[in-house]
Structures are given as structure tokens and as C-alpha cells.
């Protein structure tokens, strides 16, 4: 499979469409599954990991899905390509950085992926643009049913799907919704939201999951509990809380537009101006400025530029994407200069500030 062909497109989940797409970036569900007959990945010998990978790969490629999955073995990839898949959220950092036989099966439009030999033997993932948890659940449930006909899952009546870590046992399901919350960050109300979510046992993480910073004002809200609740009940809890957060963000946006429109307009225009003219740009600053521009577009403060191109830039300015676009490995300084050049060229074709 040619990873380079993926560079140009932003992948389905960054398309910028779907319900509530101005605030909800994507909905994602993952299921942790293990084969009954093998030790968990961390305890499996190199030989067993080979067997697990070969068995799963063969069964996954035979699944009745159209189009069929593409399989990418990770041991054969360069660190740059592995990082590239992490940036696209197709594999976890753990899978990218671990060793031994492991890989990922990729579905059409990058909406489905199955990681092999991560912490669990299989981690199935489905991603959807916008606020679409139910559609994501339908897809992943069907995919899980198909795989279940081909392999024997480790399952017990009492504890459900058995996983390497007891925090995932039961449904093995982690459902998350990625939100863009720039106004709540600007008005400093975001902490209140976090505290409220913590109380109802939902976790908040940054753009790239556990341990990552909430750069670009992106936040992922997900469930922690996997035992003692049905998948439907967990999805309902998340589905019910998201509109409240969307409501808070909209209210904060309305307040900003009403009470400090001038300052906001200035902030957005400066961000856009910097992105279109700077000659050195770090990844962090890019995220911050793109976030302001994204807010500006959604509030009608910038015209002639669409959300899809901004969504694309969020990912294409990440280190591995940038290096693949430039066709050469670049060190930090070179990357900052290439990133600025790329942003200038992409944004000059498009957009102007609204006066």
C-alpha cells in the first residue's frame, strides 16, 4: 500500500462535514479484542506474536467488506511513515513506538482501521466526521460481528471481552468525540466544563490522546467505564453530554462576538495574516493560529476560505506530513521554514480578511 498517496487528502474524519461540524470534528469508537488461545501481546513470545499477526492478517483480509482492507506491517516502515500514521490517527503512538511483529489493516477512506499486536491483539477503530457516534457504532458493531465469525475471542460470561489491562475489560469500548472549543478557552470557562465531565466519569484528552496536549483547542471527550454498562448506555451518556458542551461553546462564541467583536476580529485577522506571511513557523504556533482562523471562519469574520482547507492544514503541517509533502527528511529549523512556506502558498491561493 502506498502511504504517499494518502498525503494529499485529509481523510474522511477531517472532511469538516457531518452534524455540528463547526464544533464537533469527529466521532470515534474503538473496541479492544483478544484471541482466546494466545497470551496477551506483552506476554507473547516473538514467535507467538508472529503467529498472532499472521493469523489475524489472513482472517481480516478475508472479511466480506467492500473494498477489502489494506494491510500495512509496521516493522517494514520507516519511523517517518509510522509517525505519519499516528498523525492521521490511524494507529496509536504505542503501536508506532513498540517493537516486533505488528501492523494495521486500513479500510476505505481511512474510516476503519484494525491495529494488530497493540496492547491487545486487535484494536478495531471506526472514525466518522462530525457528531456521528451512532453511525460509528453501527459500523464497528458490524465489523466486530464479521471478525468474530473468523476468530475465537477471549470472552467470559462474567467479565466480558478480556483485555490485557483491566481498565478496558467488559465491552472493550472507548468512544470519543473530538471537539474544537476555542471560545471556551478564550473565555476561560473550559475548566468548568472539565470539572463537570470528571464528575460524570468522562475523560478529557488532547488531540493525540493520552498524554498529549490540547493543542489547537481540540479536546477529546471519552468514557472511562467499560464494565457493568452496555455499549448503548455508555454511548447515550456521551451523546447526551456533547450537546451541552456544544451549547456552552456557542454561548461563549456569542458572548465574544457581542462583547468583544473588535478584539476577536483583530485576533482572527492577525492569526490569518501571520499564517500567510511568516517565514518560520513551529507546529505549536501553527495549531494555535489555525484554531483562531477556524473560529473566525465559523463566526463569519473571514470570508473566501473554507473549513475543509483549514482542517487539512491542521494535519498537513504536522512534522511527518510536512516532510512527506516536501519529499525529504527535514530537521527542526528546516521544518519550521518549510511549514511557513507551505502555509503561505496554501493560504494565498485562498481567502481574504473581511473588512
Amino acid at each position: 500500500m502506498n502511504l504517499d498517496s494518502m498525503t494529499q487528502a485529509s481523510g474522511e474524519w477531517l472532511r469538516g462535514t457531518g452534524p455540528e461540524a463547526d464544533i464537533v470534528i469527529s466521532s470515534r469508537i474503538r473496541l479492544a479484542r483478544n484471541l482466546a488461545a494466545f497470551p496477551f501481546t506483552n506476554r507473547a513470545s516473538a514467535h507467538q506474536r508472529n503467529e498472532i499477526e499472521a493469523l489475524l492478517r489472513e482472517r481480516i483480509l478475508r472479511l466480506e467488506v467492500q473494498p477489502p482492507f489494506d494491510y500495512v506491517g509496521l516493522s517494514g516502515l520507516t519511523p517517518l511513515d509510522r509517525q505519519f500514521l499516528v498523525e492521521r490517527q490511524l494507529i496509536s503512538r504505542e503501536l508506532a513506538n513498540s517493537e516486533g511483529p505488528r501492523g494495521v489493516a486500513l479500510g476505505a477512506q481511512e474510516t476503519m482501521s484494525l491495529m494488530i499486536n497493540e496492547e491487545d491483539h486487535v484494536r478495531i477503530q471506526v472514525m466518522r466526521s462530525g457528531f456521528s457516534l451512532d453511525e460509528a457504532w453501527q459500523d464497528i458493531d458490524r465489523l466486530d460481528d464479521l471478525l468474530e465469525q473468523r476468530v475465537s475471542y477471549a470472552f467470559s460470561e462474567e467479565f466480558g471481552y478480556l483485555t490485557a489491562c483491566p481498565t478496558n475489560v467488559g465491552t472493550g469500548m472507548r468512544a470519543s468525540v473530538m471537539l474544537h472549543l476555542p471560545a471556551l478557552v478564550l473565555t476561560k470557562e473550559i475548566e468548568k466544563v472539565f470539572r463537570a465531565l470528571q464528575k460524570i466519569n468522562l475523560a478529557v484528552r488532547g488531540l493525540y490522546g493520552e498524554g498529549s496536549r490540547a493543542s489547537g483547542d481540540f479536546y477529546q471527550i471519552s468514557n472511562q467505564v467499560t464494565l457493568g454498562k452496555t455499549e448503548a448506555a455508555v454511548l447515550k451518556e456521551i451523546r447526551e453530554v456533547i450537546p451541552t458542551i456544544i451549547g456552552y461553546e456557542r454561548k461563549a462564541r456569542a458572548t465574544l462576538t457581542k462583547e468583544s467583536r473588535q478584539a476577536l476580529h483583530d485576533r482572527v485577522s492577525r492569526a490569518f495574516g501571520t499564517l500567510r506571511s511568516a517565514t518560520m513557523m513551529t507546529s505549536e504556533e501553527t495549531m494555535e493560529l489555525l484554531s483562531a482562523v477556524r473560529l473566525g471562519i465559523n463566526l463569519g469574520l473571514l470570508e473566501d476560505i473554507g473549513i475543509p482547507i483549514i482542517n487539512e492544514l491542521f494535519i498537513q503541517t504536522q512534522p511527518a506530513h510536512l516532510q512527506k509533502l516536501m519529499g525529504a527528511p527535514l530537521d527542526g529549523e528546516e521544518r519550521n521554514s518549510a511549514r511557513a512556506r507551505y502555509l503561505r502558498s496554501r493560504l494565498r491561493e485562498n481567502g481574504s480578511a473581511l473588512n
Binding site: 483478544n34 484471541l35 482466546a36 488461545a37 494466545f38 497470551p39 496477551f40 506483552n42 506476554r43 503467529e51 493469523l55 482472517r59 496492547e119 458493531d141 466486530d144 471478525l147 468474530e148 465469525q149 473468523r150 476468530v151 475465537s152 475471542y153 477471549a154 470472552f155 467470559s156 460470561e157 462474567e158 467479565f159 466480558g160 471481552y161 483485555t163 490485557a164 489491562c165 483491566p166 481498565t167 475489560v169 467488559g170 465491552t171 469500548m173 476561560k188 473550559i190 475548566e191 472539565f194 470528571q198 475523560a203 478529557v204 484528552r205 488532547g206 493520552e210 498524554g211 496536549r213 490540547a214 472511562q224 467505564v225 467499560t226 464494565l227 457493568g228 454498562k229 452496555t230 455499549e231
Partner: protein, 165 residues
């Protein structure tokens, strides 16, 4: 000095060592609180797990210390240190120790969600695999390599035919 996250004056100065590299952070109070809050969220699961396993082990140490899974050879104490189980059979072997832990993490100890309709391995078949794994470990430990090879072949056949009908 200005805050690294916003334009206000930095009042909180932190030095962090990440993979041996020194990393300095200069933040205003608001941003520091925000980062701290995020950090707390992130360490949540694994730190809860470590604390809970740690607390629980107190009274049962002797008994738990001796618990070893016959299939994969993982000791309860190893699970305690690493936070990861060795094989699916561990849930049965460590059941009494795991249940209070699951109660703390999930506020529940029984699964009520989806069940596989096909793919459930036959109990007798699983038992056989667990027994073969135990024999294999003994063979390797006693350096009975021919015996180990024979068991490995048997296991391979069992696992390869592990496709439900």
C-alpha cells in the same frame, strides 16, 4: 517574561525532564492551572490502577504473592508491578483479587454488554490449550527441548484450527 500559552505575564515557572531532556515552562496562573488540570485527567486511569492495586494488596499479600497463572506464568505480583495481565486465563486465576479492583475502576464487576454470537471458544478446548501451555513452560524450564518442540507443534495445530464453525 510572557506566558508561553497566552500573552499575560508568566508567574509559574516549571522545569520538567522528559526523556532526559530539560524542558522549561513559563506560564501565567490560568494557563498553569489549565495544564495541571489536563495532566490530572491524563494520568487518571493508570494512576488509579496503581493506587488501587497497591492498596488492595496489603492484607492479602501472602496468598496473592503465591498466585501464578498456569497458562502464561504471570504472577499476581508481576501484574501489580506492571498493571498488565498475561493472558485471558488470568481473569479466572486472579478473580478474587481482581473483583475489588474492577469495582474500584468501573463501579461494577459483571459484564452486561455485547456477547459474541459465534467466536466463543469451547471451554474444553480452552482448558486443553491452558494445560498445554503449562506443560510447555515446564518443559522449557527443565530444558526438555524435544518435549517442548512436540508441545509447541500441538499448540500450533490447536491454535491454527481455532476458527469457529
Amino acid at each position: 517574561m510572557k506566558c508561553q500559552s497566552c500573552a499575560k505575564a508568566a508567574t509559574v515557572h516549571l522545569t520538567d525532564f522528559v526523556n532526559g531532556h530539560k524542558k522549561e515552562l513559563h506560564l501565567c496562573e490560568d494557563c498553569a492551572e489549565k495544564q495541571q488540570l489536563l495532566k490530572q485527567q491524563e494520568v487518571n486511569l493508570s494512576s488509579i490502577l496503581q493506587t488501587v492495586i497497591g492498596q488492595h494488596i496489603g492484607q492479602l499479600t501472602d496468598e496473592l504473592g503465591r498466585l501464578t497463572c498456569p497458562a502464561c506464568g504471570v504472577k499476581y505480583m508481576e501484574f501489580k508491578a506492571e498493571g498488565r495481565l498475561g493472558c485471558p486465563h488470568d481473569y479466572q486465576v486472579f478473580q478474587t483479587a481482581l473483583e475489588p479492583l474492577l469495582q474500584r475502576i468501573h463501579r461494577a464487576v459483571r459484564h452486561v454488554g455485547k456477547k459474541p454470537r459465534h467466536g466463543r471458544i469451547h471451554a474444553a478446548h480452552l482448558k486443553e490449550i491452558v494445560e498445554l501451555r503449562r506443560q510447555l513452560r515446564t518443559a522449557v524450564e527443565t530444558e526438555a527441548y524435544e518435549e517442548a518442540a512436540r508441545i509447541r507443534d500441538l499448540l500450533r495445530i490447536k491454535e491454527a484450527t481455532d476458527e469457529p464453525g
